[in-house]
């Protein structure tokens, strides 16, 4: 029953993909597109446009280009021409660094907030104000104070991923069932051991949910941040290829951004499943 459902869903997925690719192919194949274009724009768009071929690459173009990239993902021909693998590695590296710093701060601080109503109340106004600030709004301030574009991007990742983890950790810790705490208390378990043997496992699913939200946001933000700071990374690559008018590469980058985001999310989903307990 479930396997057949999965099978049928897979078939529908493939059909949808085929329909999408087919439509894309037909839409970009060729038309009298050149006729509707202003001459300047046609000139700008180059051969493809003037020959009546759509400026939008078709799936076959993208596929061929993608294959080229996949064959040599790590080449490095100077600052404006690096393999996609290198660019992605830069982005992932920045996200990981900013994210891990956020984990290291958000989880202990969240514990503190969750355990102490006083600290919770005292910090609440700050969190409420800082949380809704778009991470990119920090960028100028970060560039000015840190004076390093790459570190600024990491800071922006940190600041955007810290809130969901902080809030979820605090919530998870604060809402650990009283009876579990009481079990530890009647067993005279000390504060430190209680934090690790009762509160952490009980709050882990909520904390992981926060971490999963955070990694998603971090990956969303890195692309935008790298467009601003430039230099390296997949975000910079997208912007650079747009300036080169290589829509094919832009499409490939979009695809890869999606795939990496999915992989990051799935990794945390797997960890999340490990710490979830049925009741």
């Amino acid at each position: 029953m479930t396997t057949s459902l999965r099978l049928r869903a897979a078939v529908v997925s493939i059909v949808l993909l085929a329909v999408f690719l087919g439509a894309w192919h037909i839409a970009t194949r060729s038309t009298g597109a050149a006729a509707n274009m202003s001459p300047e724009y046609a000139k700008l768009m180059g051969m493809t446009a003037t020959q009546g071929k759509s400026a939008m690459p078709g799936p076959l173009d993208v596929g061929a280009k993608l294959w080229e990239h996949l064959k040599r993902p790590f080449y490095d021909n100077g600052p404006n021409d690096k393999g996609l693998g290198i660019q992605l590695a830069y982005s992932i590296g920045r996200v990981m660094l900013g994210y891990l710093i956020a984990v290291a701060i958000a989880i202990p601080l969240g514990f503190l907030i969750g355990m102490s109503p006083l600290i919770s109340k005292a910090l609440d106004p700050f969190i409420q104000i800082l949380k809704p600030i778009s991470p990119l709004a920090w960028m100028p301030l970060a560039l000015y104070t840190i004076k390093d574009s790459s570190l600024s991007a990491i800071f922006v990742i940190f600041i955007c991923s810290v809130w969901p983890m902080l809030i979820n950790t605090a919530f998870g810790v604060a809402s650990v069932r009283k009876e579990w705490i009481n079990v530890a208390r009647t067993l005279e378990v000390g504060n430190f051991r209680r934090a690790f043997t009762v509160i952490l496992p009980a709050a882990a699913p909520t904390i992981l949910t926060g971490m999963r939200i955070s990694i998603g946001i971090a990956w969303l933000v890195i692309v935008a941040a790298e467009m601003l700071v430039g230099g390296t990374g997949i975000g910079y690559f997208v912007w650079n290829e747009w300036n080169n008018l290589s829509i094919t590469n832009v499409i490939i980058a979009i695809l890869l951004i999606g795939v990496v985001g999915m992989v990051l999310d799935q990794l945390l989903a797997r960890v999340s499943r490990l710490v979830t307990f049925p009741e």
Partner: protein, 301 residues
């Protein structure tokens, strides 16, 4: 003054302050001897759990103290094990993990093997051998409560505190668990303080049944001594000549006197709660009461 008692509740009160401050109970006195099995019966909300939590050290009284074994309690202790109504197992741990957590909390220096062997012994005692690697979510309600009992027993406490431990179970499971708790407690001479709603459960298990009036301002109205022989069997309870007198006395209290007791008994002395012995003909108060005004009342049934 009550140094002969193993547990001595001395004038405790519990008040909740607030816009409408309430006194759940005040000036509550009760003594328990070592090895005694005491059941408290009273209506929902009268403050039974509060008393138990104070005994456990999980809650602090607004006034008064509880002395256990000559020492005023100041917080939870491994000497006083609690069996929670909701079993309160840690769902991310297995059966063995839950019991071992308690064992390793009591004996911090034991190595893994020793903790495991000790925990397994108690898992076996409650009849769960073979299920030690299951998680609480894979267990039935009765099995979960067994784990809770094993966890409490495994730390060899001086006192067991049970808050309606079987109320969430079906009648059949409840009966089996009552048998087992009784067997274990009689064998080990445990001192037990248990809360229950179930009159038959109290009659089967308890040496003394404490009747608590309705709150707010609940008082301990009577301590009813169980006249049934120590070697009673659950199935034979109702054949005992005093069973119905005892049962009727308790039910009568729950149905009517729990509401009216405080108003009808103005000279009730909370420090000397009357001890009631159920006689063949009618219950009689045998101790510690200016008997004149109250004897007819206790004998009303």
């Amino acid at each position: 003054m009550t140094s002969d008692k193993f547990i001595s509740i001395e004038g405790i009160a519990k008040r909740y302050e607030g816009t409408r401050s309430t006194t759940i109970f005040e000036n509550l006195w009760l003594g328990m001897a070592r090895g005694e099995f005491v059941c408290v019966i009273g209506h929902s909300g009268c403050g039974k759990t509060t008393v138990l939590n104070i005994l456990a050290g999980l809650d602090a009284p607004s006034e008064g103290v509880v002395v256990v074994d000559g020492q005023a309690i100041e917080g939870p202790s491994l000497d006083r094990a609690v069996i929670f109504q909701s079993h309160a197992l840690l769902p991310w741990r297995t059966v063995l993990g839950n019991v071992a957590y308690a064992v390793s909390s009591k004996w911090r220096k034991w190595d893994r093997a020793k903790v495991k062997a000790h925990a397994l012994k108690y898992i076996e005692l409650v009849g769960l051998a073979g299920s030690e690697h299951k998680r609480p979510s894979e267990l039935s309600g009765g099995m979960k409560q067994r784990v809770g009992i094993a966890r409490a027993l495994s730390i060899t406490p001086k006192i067991m505190l049970m808050d309606e431990p079987f109320s969430a179970l079906d009648a059949l499971t409840r009966g089996t668990l009552q048998d087992e708790v009784r067997r274990i407690c009689v064998e080990t001479g445990q001192t037990v303080f248990m809360i229950t709603h179930d009159v038959d459960e109290a009659i089967y298990l308890a040496d003394k049944i404490v009747l608590m009036t309705n709150g707010p301002g609940a008082v301990l109205a009577e301590i009813v001594e169980n006249p049934l022989p120590k070697d009673r069997l659950r199935g034979d309870l109702h054949r005992h000549p005093l069973y119905y007198a005892l049962r009727n006395h308790i039910i009568d209290f729950l149905v009517s006197r729990s509401k009216t007791f405080v108003a009808e008994t103005p000279d009730h002395d909370p420090r000397k709660v009357p001890v009631v012995k159920i006689g063949r003909t009618e219950p009689t108060i045998v101790a510690s009461k200016p008997a004149d005004s109250d004897a007819p009342q206790a004998a009303a049934r």
